[in-house]
């Protein structure tokens, strides 16, 4: 068996197997973590791993089909990964009562503000850009 046919077989099995793709994502994460530790970067290893995968996808060295199913698994089951941390709330019985209501108020008022500012800003800027494009079209 030539190295070339071996590489082809490897790629085909990566395209077909979600488990292999999940393993590949772990490898990229490991590379990211190692890079961060060796270079002393102030970002998490996952971000470096993500940048690496993105660069490989954009440059065409990695096919989307080698990552897609594995990535979708991680994103679809994300609740399972963070739910243990949410249990921290059992150590905070003081949240039951006025303090909890205050926190809820901050979250609701804050979220409503973020929504209003984001949507209004984006919409305003989008319409300005559209109007500018129309003006250009008139003069062309």
């Amino acid at each position: 068996m030539t190295p070339r046919s071996l590489a082809l077989r490897f790629r085909r099995s990566l395209h077909n197997s979600r488990l292999a793709q999940i393993a590949a994502i772990f490898v990229f994460w490991g590379i990211g973590e190692t890079t961060v530790r060796l270079a002393g970067l102030p970002v998490p290893g996952g971000i470096v791993g993500m940048a690496l995968v993105l660069a490989l996808l954009i440059s065409g060295r990695l096919s989307l089909f080698s990552m897609r199913r594995g990535a979708q698994w991680f994103l679809a089951e994300m609740i399972l990964f963070f739910v243990p941390a949410v249990l921290a709330v059992v150590d905070h019985r003081e949240f039951v009562g006025l303090l909890g209501l205050k926190i809820l108020f901050v979250i609701l008022a804050g979220t409503a503000s973020v929504m209003a500012v984001t949507a209004l800003t984006a919409d305003l800027y989008y319409r300005r850009r559209l109007a500018a494009e129309d003006r250009h079209a008139l003069f062309e």
Partner: protein, 235 residues
């Protein structure tokens, strides 16, 4: 001192219980499909009930199940795929997306800090509340960067997601925004994955924008976290 086999057994037990509860919660939602039964809400609710009933402390519980939380690291790598899939959207609308995300992130930090100070929350809570709008893996990183408690942030992120989807739908009926770009950004910036799911219900384009913006705004938050940490003492 518990023996190592007891620790292993305890770990297996609570991990299996957590995973089992999660899949049960997903089945419950698929069976009845009520918004208040979304897995984001009932998985923690069921687990809290179990842990409190069993009189288990969080310290013991997280020692057994913390390995699940560490899977958020590789999950971050997975976000490369949705970014790549939405490259056409980025190429076409990046100025609007950038402006919307910057405005939204600044508002998230300032409004969180202002409202929390207004009702008199202490520093640990105020800091843990700041990254509530972004997806959990990013939010927990930001929280530890700025001196908050990452596990409390996870609690606030979940609350934001649960209420954000409903609140977003309400805001859309009040706000005079017509473009799918702005309507999607509203959900992606303010209410992460839960908002994105709601945006997909509203429209295909809104959903795509929300999903992309959610990832990008998470990244943006991680990158500006050191600046926030240095800037907050002056507020």
């Amino acid at each position: 001192m518990p023996s190592s086999s007891e620790i292993l057994l305890h770990g297996l037990f609570w991990s299996a219980l957590t995973i089992g509860t999660y899949f049960l919660a997903k089945r419950i939602y698929l069976r009845w499909r009520q918004p208040f039964l979304m897995p984001l809400a009932i998985t923690p609710a069921l687990l809290i009930l179990i842990v409190v009933t069993a009189d288990e402390t969080y310290r013991d519980y997280i020692r057994s199940t913390g390995w699940l939380v560490s899977l958020l690291g590789p999950a971050m790598v997975a976000f490369a795929v949705p970014i790549y899939e939405q490259r056409a959207l980025i190429a076409r609308h990046w100025p609007v997306l950038v402006v919307g995300m910057l405005a939204g992130t600044a508002t998230a930090i300032l409004s969180g800090w202002t409202f929390a100070s207004l009702v008199g929350l202490d520093d640990a809570l105020r800091l843990s509340l700041l990254p509530r709008s972004v997806s959990t893996p990013f939010a927990m990183v930001v929280s530890s960067d700025i001196g908050g408690a990452p596990d409390l942030t996870a609690v606030f992120v979940v609350l934001t997601g649960v209420f954000g989807a409903i609140l977003g739908e309400l805001m859309l009926t009040i706000l005079p925004v017509k473009s799918a770009l702005a309507r999607g950004a509203l959900f992606g910036v303010a209410a992460h994955a839960s908002g994105t799911a709601k945006a997909h219900e509203i429209g295909h384009e809104e959903g795509s924008v929300a999903g992309l913006v959610m990832v990008l705004v998470g990244l943006l938050n991680v990158l500006v976290a050191p600046l926030i940490a240095h800037g907050l003492p002056y507020l």
